[in-house]
Structure formats: C-alpha cells, structure tokens
Symmetry: C2
Amino acid sequence: MQNSEAMALSAALLAAAGELTQRINEGVVARGFEGMRPAHGFAFTRLAPDGATVTELAAHLGVTKQAASQLVDEVVRKGYAERRDHPGDARARLIVLTERGWACTRAAEEVAAEVVGEWVELLGEGEVRVLGRHLARIAPYGPIRPAW
Amino acid sequence: MQNSEAMALSAALLAAAGELTQRINEGVVARGFEGMRPAHGFAFTRLAPDGATVTELAAHLGVTKQAASQLVDEVVRKGYAERRDHPGDARARLIVLTERGWACTRAAEEVAAEVVGEWVELLGEGEVRVLGRHLARIAPYGPIRPAW
DNA sequence: ATCTATGGTCAAGCTGCTTGACCATCTGGT
DNA sequence: ACCAGATGGTCAAGCAGCTTGACCATAGAT
C-alpha cells in the first residue's frame, strides 16, 4: 500500500473522529448538559459501570492523576459525580456517577446513535458493523487520548 | 442499532484515531524532527501541495487565525516553512514548506504507512481499503480538529 | 517495625488557545 | 474615482487545562 494511501486513510480517520466527537458534544450540550466537554464524556465511560479511582481515570484518559483529579473536582462541583470512600483501600476514593451523570451518559449514547444512524444511511447497517469490528481490532482498549 | 453499540463504535473510532496520531508523531520525532507536534503535521498536509494562507490554514485546523499564525511562527522559526508574498493579494502571505518541511512530511507518510501496514496484517489489505473508503465517505474533507 | 510503593491532593508554572483591537489591502457600489 | 465595508494578518492580553514537583496518608512487603 502506498504511503500516500496510508496518509489519506489516516486523515479520514482523524477527520471522522474529530467530527464525531464534536457532534456528540454539541448534542449533549444541546440536551441541557451545559459546560460539558468531550473529556467529561470519556471520563464518564470509565466511571459508568462501577466507578473508578482517580488513578484509574488518569490512565484511561492518558493524563496525569493531578489533571484527572481536577477534572473530577469539576464534574463533582457540577453535580455529575461524587467521591466516596473506597471499600478496601482507605487511601483511595471511588468516583461514581450521580443520577445526573447517568442521564448525561444516556444522552451521549443517544446522540452517538443519531450520528452513527447517518452512517448507516450512507453505508448500510452491515457495513457500519464491519467498520466497528475492524476499528475495535485496530485499537483494542487503549487509553482514549485527544487526537492531538 | 442499539445506543450502546453506537457508543462502542464511537469509542473504538476515537481510540484508533488517538493511537494513530500518537504513533505517527512519535515516529516523526524519532526520525529527527524534534519538537514536532501532531498539529504541525496536520498543518503540513494543508501546506503541502501549493502552500496556503494563514486564514486557510486556520479553517483547516479549526482554530482562530491568530492561533494559526502563531503555529506558522513556530514552524518558520524551526525551518519547516517560510512566508512569501502572495501573488495577486498584497494583504496575504503564502506559507510554503521548505525542503525540511517536505522531508518531515515524507517521514510522516512513512510512519503512517508502517502503522497502516500493521492493520493490513490484522485485517488484510482489502479490508483496510474498504475501511478507508468508508471513513472517507463519513467525513468528506472536513477540518481536522483535535478529538477533544 | 520499618521501608518502599501507591492513591491522592496542593501549589506553581507553562503552553496553546481565545478574545479584542488594530492596520493594510481588496472589492463593490455609486 | 472614491468611499464603505469586507477580508488577511498581526499584536497584546487573558485564560483553561495540563504539567512538574512536593507532600501526606495508607498499603503491602521484608
């Protein structure tokens, strides 16, 4: 495969990721979750199942734990999450979503489904599923970082 | 398609984009182009064919023209590009790559080809081509923004 | 019992972006 | 030809989000 072809693929991937992120964020904000940034959403995906520690969150976001801690401060202040004592480790705090945090997460999923729905119209559902499977094989559970 | 499925696809897309960007940047830096950041590479892809104005660059990167101008300052100072008079518009300057700028661009293409080569090993060349075509249809020539 | 590693926070600083103001030049209407 | 508004570009100031460095409390190992 030619270098220029690889570069075109890279550019398309980046453009798609950037547009998707922007649209999800705009949709979430439009649904009444003001002051939310994409990073909050990515944090929520890590907090969603059972909560997480600041250190785990930092690893997931690819930032320092200080940065993650500041981000937690912010979402706690805005009412999307709360710090609880960690069961079994008195040093750690378990960050969990509040009901409003869950509502925000559901809103993000709805918007994502809208955007992906447009892709389905363009490419067909089967092709979009294939796209998802291939992308999942390319980037299996790495940290989610800003594209640049 | 379920909301959770759309969210998983979104996460995979973002993770793939983030990893690709990081690896290309690391590869470029490792080849001797120190101090380069991903944003520089994205700027170069716009400058590459025939140069561009600061305003065009700003639109391509999705930032203000002041930010684009600062970025141009930086790459000019580092020897990757130069400001020339714009033929046909005395207000504007045409930013063009220097030879070193072209070398950096070629290096980025090489690294991108390496990474995409790994995807080809995973998925096969045909599937990767399909991936590229689909992504190109999803995000046709939008600005390349940071993922968050 | 101690020593080291780990989770977390506080504080300070930096980088890259934004907003706002401004000048030079282009463009279109009169 | 001229003027008014639009456009390209830069300067300056401010800020948000991240980093590094220092520090404390607790865990786990020896």
